[in-house]
C-alpha cells in the first residue's frame, strides 16, 4: 500500500482532489434538485438528466446569439424552470393521488421525448459552450483553469441560496411544511398543488443551471443527461432519499473517490467506484450513508 501511495506524486493527488470537488459540486447541484422533488412529492424524476441537457443546449443557443455566458446561464435556468412547471402541470398534476408507479412511468416517457426532441433539433454532433473566461493559475507545474473553481463556487452559491430560501424565505416555509405533511399543509391553506409545481420548476431550473455550468467542460449532446441522471440517482440513494444535506455530501464524496480512482483506471471504469459505494450503502446503511440509522 505504501508503495502505491508513494508512487503518486502529491501534486496529482491535489489536482484530483480539486477536480473531485468541482465535479462533486455540480453533481450536488443536479442531485439536490432531484432530492427536493422526491422529498416533497415522492416523484422519481427520470427526466432530470434531460432537463440538465436542455439547459446546456439552451445555453449554447443563447451564447451563439448574445455571446454572453452569464445571460445564457440565467436565461437557460429560467426557461427550463418554466418548462418544468409546464411539464408538471400537464403530466404530473393529473397523476396526483394515483399509484406512484404512474409518476415513474410518466417521467420516463418525458425523458424519452425530451432526449429525442434534442436529437431532432440539434443533431447528433456535440456542441460546445465557450468558457466565460479563460485563464489559469499555477498549481505546481500545472496550469489549473480558474473556470473550474468558479463553477464549484457558483454551484455552492446556488445550493446555499436554495437552503437560505427554504429556511428563511417567505415561501420556504410552505415548501418545508408541504414536504413534511402534505395533508396538514393543505388544511393550513397552503395551495399544495402549486407548491409542488413550483418545486418541480425549481428543481428543473437547478438542473439546467448545472448543465450550462458544466457545458464548457465537456461536449453538449443529447445523451449527456443519461450519465448524469444515473450518477445523480446513486448520489440521492447514498445520501438518503429526500435528504438535501446528505445528497450534497454524497455527491462530493463519490466524486472525490472517482477522481482518485481515475489515477489508476480509465474514467469509463472509474464509475465502478460509485457502483461499489452504492452497493455497500445498500448492504449496510440503506437509509443513507450520512443519515443516522433509525433506531
Amino acid at each position: 500500500m505504501e508503495q502505491v501511495l508513494q508512487a503518486i506524486p502529491f501534486d496529482q493527488l491535489l489536482i484530483q482532489t480539486i477536480n473531485g470537488i468541482v465535479t462533486g459540486m455540480i453533481l450536488a447541484l443536479v442531485a439536490s434538485g432531484l432530492t427536493l422533488i422526491f422529498g416533497i412529492m415522492d416523484v422519481v424524476n427520470f427526466a432530470h438528466g434531460e432537463l440538465f441537457m436542455l439547459g446546456a443546449y439552451i445555453g449554447v443557443l443563447i451564447m451563439a446569439t448574445t455571446g454572453n455566458f452569464w445571460i445564457a446561464l440565467v436565461a437557460a435556468t429560467l426557461l427550463v424552470a418554466l418548462l418544468g412547471a409546464v411539464i408538471h402541470l400537464t403530466t404530473l398534476r393529473p397523476l396526483l393521488g394515483r399509484d406512484p408507479l404512474t409518476t415513474i412511468l410518466a417521467t420516463f416517457g418525458i425523458s424519452l421525448v425530451l432526449q429525442n426532441y434534442a436529437l431532432w433539433q440539434f443533431g447528433p454532433v456535440a456542441r460546445k459552450i465557450q468558457e466565460p473566461f479563460t485563464g489559469h493559475f499555477k498549481l505546481f507545474y500545472l496550469e489549473y483553469p480558474w473556470y473550474r473553481l468558479v463553477i464549484a463556487g457558483l454551484s455552492a452559491a446556488i445550493i446555499t441560496a436554495l437552503w437560505l430560501f427554504l429556511k428563511f424565505g417567505t415561501y420556504g416555509i410552505w415548501i418545508r411544511a408541504t414536504t413534511q405533511d402534505r395533508v396538514m399543509a393543505q388544511a393550513m391553506g397552503i395551495p399544495v398543488p402549486w407548491v409542488l409545481t413550483a418545486v418541480f420548476a425549481i428543481g428543473a431550473g437547478m438542473a439546467a443551471a448545472s448543465g450550462v455550468l458544466f457545458g464548457p467542460l465537456v461536449g453538449v449532446n443529447h445523451t449527456m443527461g443519461l450519465d448524469w441522471v444515473l450518477k445523480a440517482f446513486i448520489v440521492v440513494v447514498v445520501g438518503g432519499m429526500g435528504n438535501l444535506g446528505g445528497s450534497i455530501l454524497a455527491a462530493i464524496f463519490i466524486s472525490l473517490l472517482e477522481s482518485y480512482a481515475s489515477l489508476w483506471v480509465s474514467p469509463a471504469q472509474a464509475v465502478i467506484v460509485s457502483f461499489v459505494v452504492l452497493i455497500l450503502t445498500l448492504l449496510f446503511r440503506p437509509t443513507g450513508l450520512f443519515v443516522p440509522t433509525p433506531k
Partner: protein
C-alpha cells in the same frame, strides 16, 4: 335534515347556520364509512359530536375540512355550497382543522408552525403581529418555546400549538378532533379553557370527543353518531340533566 334546496342561497341571514352538512356519504376504498350524516353549527356555537370509536366522527370532520370528498350529499358554509372544494381553499374560507394526533410540523419551529397559517394573501404585517401576540398571550408556553422545533414539545404543548396554528387562519369555525386524547387529565381543564377562549373570540367549534363530561360542559348542542349516521341530537342542557341516551349509545 334533507331539505331540497336548489342552487345555493347567497343571502346569509343571521338565521342561516354557519355550517350545514346535508346527508353526506363517504367511502374508504370499498367500505362505506358515512351513511348520510347531517348536522348544523351556528355562528359562534360550540357543538359536540359524540360516539364510540370508529363510528365516523373523525371522518365527518375530514369531510367538512375537504380532506375526504363526500360521494353524495352537500356541505354548505355560510350559505355557499363547498362540497368537493380543495382543502386549502376551505381553509382560506375560514374552516380551521385540528386533527387527531395534532399533526404539527415537527421539523418547523413553533413560530414557523404558526406562520403556515399566518402567511396568507391579504394579511398585513401589523395584523400578523397582532395575531401572534394574541397567541402568545393565550398560550404563554408557546411564546417561551417559539424557536423550538415542534417535535420537541410535549403532547399538551403540541395540542396547544395545533389549535393556535388553526387560529392563525382567523377561522369562523374550528373542527377539533379529540383534543384531549393522549393528554394528562389535568390538561383537560386547559382544553376546556381554550374552547371558552374560542367561543369568546366568536369562533364556532365542532368538537369531536370521547371525553363525555368535557363535551357536555363545553357544548351548547350535541349530536350522537353511530355507524356513520346521526342517531340523536339534543341541546346539551337536556343531556346534562338526563344522560341515559349517552349511556345507551356510548356504553359508558
Amino acid at each position: 335534515m334533507t331539505t331540497a334546496v336548489m342552487g345555493h342561497s347567497r343571502q346569509t341571514s343571521s338565521l342561516d347556520p354557519l355550517l350545514k352538512v346535508e346527508d353526506i356519504h363517504t367511502y374508504y376504498g370499498k367500505s362505506h364509512t358515512l351513511h348520510g350524516v347531517s348536522l348544523e353549527v351556528g355562528r359562534g356555537e360550540v357543538v359536540g359530536l359524540l360516539g364510540r370509536n370508529g363510528v365516523g366522527k373523525s371522518t365527518t370532520l375530514k369531510a367538512i375540512a375537504g380532506l375526504v370528498p363526500p360521494s353524495a350529499g352537500r356541505i354548505l358554509f355560510e350559505g355557499r355550497a363547498i362540497t368537493g372544494l380543495a382543502a386549502h381553499r376551505l381553509a382560506r374560507l375560514g374552516i380551521g382543522y385540528v386533527p387527531e394526533d395534532r399533526r404539527i410540523f415537527r421539523l418547523l419551529s413553533v413560530t414557523e408552525n404558526l406562520r403556515t397559517g399566518l402567511d396568507r394573501y391579504g394579511v398585513t404585517a401589523a395584523r400578523k403581529k397582532q395575531l401572534l401576540d394574541k397567541v402568545h398571550v393565550y398560550f404563554p408556553v408557546l411564546a417561551e418555546r417559539r424557536n423550538q422545533a415542534g417535535g420537541t414539545l410535549s403532547g399538551g404543548e403540541q395540542q396547544m400549538l395545533a389549535i393556535a396554528r388553526a387560529m392563525m387562519l382567523e377561522p369562523k369555525i374550528i373542527l377539533l378532533d379529540e383534543p384531549t386524547e393522549g393528554l394528562m387529565p389535568r390538561m383537560v381543564s386547559q382544553i376546556r379553557e381554550i374552547i371558552g377562549v374560542l367561543k369568546q373570540e366568536g369562533v364556532a367549534v365542532l368538537l369531536v370527543e370521547q371525553n363525555v363530561p368535557l363535551t357536555l360542559d363545553a357544548s351548547q348542542r350535541i349530536y350522537i353518531i353511530e355507524k356513520g349516521v346521526v342517531r340523536h341530537h339534543a341541546p346539551a342542557a337536556e343531556l346534562r340533566a338526563d344522560d341515559a341516551v349517552i349511556h345507551q349509545y356510548l356504553g359508558v
